[in-house]
Each structure stands twice: as structure tokens, then as C-alpha cells.
């Protein structure tokens, strides 16, 4: 007994709802409608990312230098490894979902329960990994200086490896404290103050002759341009304005702030989809345990939710390519 489909045998009533040209239930068709519209939303975001990237094609951050961290391996650089793991987890949870749908076709309640449970675990691991990745990105690892024009200057040693601000800058005593609305102008507030001032960074840079500055610009081999020592000093003294540690919606120590904005927006929107997918999966999971679909005589609800879950996986495949690979 299918509650969503009205089965009439009148084949001639094409406009009366009696005919099923697509041979799919109402619920499944509506899920496909939703998926197509959601796919267009995501492609709007990704195409906007492509737009900004083409706009700043010669100064875009290199993803391999940004996402190099793996949990529990401090200070080591392993580009791609953790994202590859996340991708695999999501594909794997897609597989358990499709196995649950298949078990549903055979009306096998215990198997549906087991595979749905695995799917929920996979989704939870993925959302957790994404939260960790966000936290690492927000915290940053090396620190940089922003110029008047909003460009990012990073510090490298003689071999071209990036150097942390903490490794060459001495923090002095600062009189300036964070301005809070309760102690001054009530309509003005500010975020956390950086650890160092720009003068301390200049002093530290002068004291370490092996350091030079790396700009955002890419050379013809796709590497970031490294300035000579004299040019570095000149650039830092005339244009350096602000210390940047980590990334947020306004600044980003890895390069243009648009990169961070799109990262937060697109992976955030995707992460929200995964999160709602996990919630819906949990609801379905309890319905399966309670025997709702057993009594209904069809596990089609698992199939519909499965469609959504696979779609989330599908979107991640594209986010993975355009954020981490290309």
C-alpha cells in the first residue's frame, strides 16, 4: 500500500492524474525537483568562486599551502591527505545508505537499521572533520602582514619556507587594550588585538637578515613571488599596516580575503546540508526501529532520504575538486 500514489487503471485519463509517465511516486519526484534546484544553488556559489578566482587569477592562494594539516600530526605538512580522508568517509556513508535502500527493497528491517546507523556515524565523522578544518583555518599557522592596499605579505627564510611571526618577532609591552563598548563609545567595538605591533615586526625582520618577503603574486611557474632583501624591507616599511593571524571574513593570512569568504560560505553551506542530512537520517532511523515503514509496507522513505544523502555526497565531490584540487 503506497500512501502517496493514487493507482487508477484508467490509462486514457492522461490529464486526470491516472497515468504515470515517469513511473515514480510523487514523493520521489518532489525530491528530484528539490535536488535540481539545490544543485543550481550550489553551482551558483561555485561559479561565483570561479568568477572571483578568474578575476584574481595571478594572486589566488595555493590550496596545497593552506590545507596541510592532519589531526595529531603537529607541525607536519601533508596537503590533501585529510580532505581525501573526508571524501572517502562521505562516499563510504553513501555506500551504506544505498545498501540500506537495497535492504529496504527486500523488507529486511534489521539490515536497514544497521546500514542507516553506519550512515549516521559516517555523516557525524564528516561534520566533525569539517569543524576541525574550520578551526585550523581560523587559527592560522604562520601569521602575515597586510598592506595598505589589502595585499598579504608573508615571511620566508633563505630556502623559501614560511616562517612564523613568533619565530622572529619579540613582543614588547603593549599599553593598548581591547576596546569594549562598555568602557568607551557604546556603538564602537573591535575584535581581538594581534599579538604584535607592526613596529615590532619591522624590528624583528631587520634583526634577521636571512628573512625575506613573499607576495601574493604568482610567477609563471605558479609559485609565489619572493622579493629580494632590499625590496622586502622597503615594502614592509612603506606599505605594511596590519598584523594578520589566521583567517576570518575580513582578512586571511594566506592571501585574498575572498578565498576565506568563499571557503566559509561554500563549505559552511555544504556542512549545513550534511548536518541536516544526519538529523533526517536519525529521524528515519528511529522510524525504522519503531517499525513505521514495516507497517506501511514500503521503505520508500529511506529511498527518498537516500536521494538527498547521495546529493550531499555529489556536491562534496565538486567542492573537493574546485577548492582543493584545481
Amino acid at each position: 500500500m503506497d500512501t502517496t500514489v493514487v493507482n487508477t487503471d484508467a490509462k486514457e485519463k492522461v490529464w486526470g492524474g491516472g497515468n504515470q509517465p515517469l513511473n515514480a511516486s510523487y514523493g520521489k519526484l518532489m525530491m528530484w525537483f528539490f535536488i535540481v534546484s539545490d544543485a543550481l544553488t550550489f553551482s551558483g556559489f561555485l561559479a561565483a568562486y570561479g568568477f572571483s578566482r578568474f578575476k584574481f587569477i595571478e594572486s589566488w592562494p595555493i590550496a596545497d599551502e593552506v590545507f596541510t594539516h592532519v589531526p595529531f600530526l603537529h607541525g607536519q605538512e601533508h596537503p590533501m591527505i585529510y580532505v581525501a580522508f573526508m571524501t572517502f568517509v562521505l562516499i563510504m556513508s553513501s555506500v551504506t545508505m544505498v545498501l540500506a535502500v537495497d535492504a529496504g527493497h527486500h523488507m529486511n528491517k534489521s539490515k536497514v537499521t544497521f546500514y542507516l546507523f553506519l550512515t549516521i556515524i559516517g555523516g557525524a565523522i564528516f561534520v566533525g572533520s569539517q569543524a576541525w578544518e574550520w578551526a585550523t583555518f581560523i587559527k592560522g599557522d604562520h601569521g602575515a602582514v597586510q598592506t595598505r592596499g589589502g595585499n598579504i605579505l608573508q615571511f620566508v627564510d633563505a630556502d623559501g619556507h614560511r616562517v612564523k611571526l613568533a619565530d622572529f618577532v619579540m613582543a614588547g609591552t603593549h599599553d593598548r587594550t581591547v576596546h569594549e563598548s562598555k568602557i568607551g563609545l557604546w556603538y564602537v567595538s573591535e575584535g581581538t588585538l594581534p599579538t604584535y605591533t607592526i613596529d615590532e615586526v619591522v624590528a624583528g625582520f631587520e634583526a634577521h637578515p636571512e628573512l625575506s618577503i613573499r607576495t601574493q603574486l604568482l610567477d609563471e611557474h605558479g609559485h609565489k613571488t619572493i622579493l629580494s632583501r632590499d625590496e622586502s624591507l622597503k615594502q614592509l616599511k612603506t606599505n605594511g599596516r596590519k598584523i594578520v593571524e589566521g583567517a576570518n571574513l575580513k582578512v586571511n593570512e594566506y592571501g585574498t580575503s575572498l578565498f576565506a569568504d568563499f571557503f566559509f560560505f561554500i563549505t559552511g553551506f555544504h556542512g549545513f546540508h550534511v548536518f541536516s542530512g544526519v538529523v533526517i537520517n536519525i529521524i528515519i532511523f528511529f522510524n525504522v526501529i519503531l517499525g513505521t515503514y514495516e507497517r506501511r509496507g514500503s521503505y520508500e522513505m529511506v529511498e527518498k532520504v537516500g536521494l538527498y544523502w547521495h546529493f550531499v555526497d555529489l556536491v562534496w565531490v565538486f567542492v573537493f575538486t574546485f577548492f582543493y584540487l584545481v
Binding site: 513511473n23 561559479a47 570561479g50 568568477f51 595571478e58 596545497d64 575538486t321 584540487l325
Partner: protein
């Protein structure tokens, strides 16, 4: 849900005995493709950095492999292979047309603005 499942992938090159086996087969295929992507992404071979229609060959390879993955997720995990041809075309061609249109317009415009920035007396290095 009595309709039959089509059990072969890669245009009939690989055939499976049942649905469960097909699912594991597709998982292996997707894992291999992802592994190729990751290895290429880590090592970035110099020979694939030549440009072809505005982009590196390596990037074209990534995009091609991604579309292949998307095909198998939609066709086998979302059961598109077993739906009627009209449902399949409604969903796939609508999305493909609109997405290609959107991407073309935005990337074209992005490239134009980039050319204004680099050759149009806009100072950015300060």
C-alpha cells in the same frame, strides 16, 4: 519496488550478479578515481601544466574525473540508471544546460575584469 535493476557499469564491460555487488563495485571505482585525483594533486606533474583552452591540462583532468564520479553517484547510488528515460533527461539536461550557461557567463566576466585590472591602469600593489 518491483522494477528491475540494470546491473552492468562502464557500458556493459563489468557485469554484476546482484545490486549489493554492483554497489561495492562502484565504490571501488570511485575510490580509484579519488586516489588518482589525490596523487595528481600532491605531485602536480610538470608535464601536465601546459595550457589548453585557458586552463592547465591538469585542471581539465580533475574536472573530467569529477564529472565521471558525479555520473556514477547519480546513476548507481541515486538509481538514475533504473528510472525512465524521460525522468532522467528532465533532471540531467536541465541542470547541465543551466550550470554550463552560468559557468560560461561568470568565468567570461571574471576574465574580462582581470584584463581590466592588469592593463587598465588600476593600481593594486600598494
Amino acid at each position: 519496488m518491483a522494477h528491475a535493476h540494470k546491473l552492468s557499469i562502464l557500458r556493459g564491460t563489468i557485469k554484476f550478479k546482484n545490486v549489493t555487488q554492483k554497489i561495492w563495485g562502484v565504490l571501488i571505482l570511485l575510490t580509484i578515481i579519488t586516489a588518482i585525483e589525490v596523487v595528481l594533486g600532491i605531485y602536480k606533474p610538470e608535464s601536465l601544466k601546459a595550457h589548453f583552452i585557458g586552463m592547465k591540462i591538469l585542471n581539465w583532468i580533475f574536472i573530467f574525473l569529477t564529472v565521471v564520479k558525479a555520473y556514477y553517484i547519480t546513476w548507481d547510488f541515486m538509481h538514475m540508471r533504473d528510472e525512465t528515460a524521460s525522468l532522467r533527461r528532465m533532471v540531467v539536461w536541465t541542470a547541465v544546460f543551466l550550470i554550463c550557461y552560468l559557468i560560461f557567463i561568470l568565468l567570461q566576466e571574471g576574465g574580462y575584469i582581470e584584463s581590466v585590472y592588469t592593463s587598465g591602469f588600476v593600481k593594486r600593489d600598494f
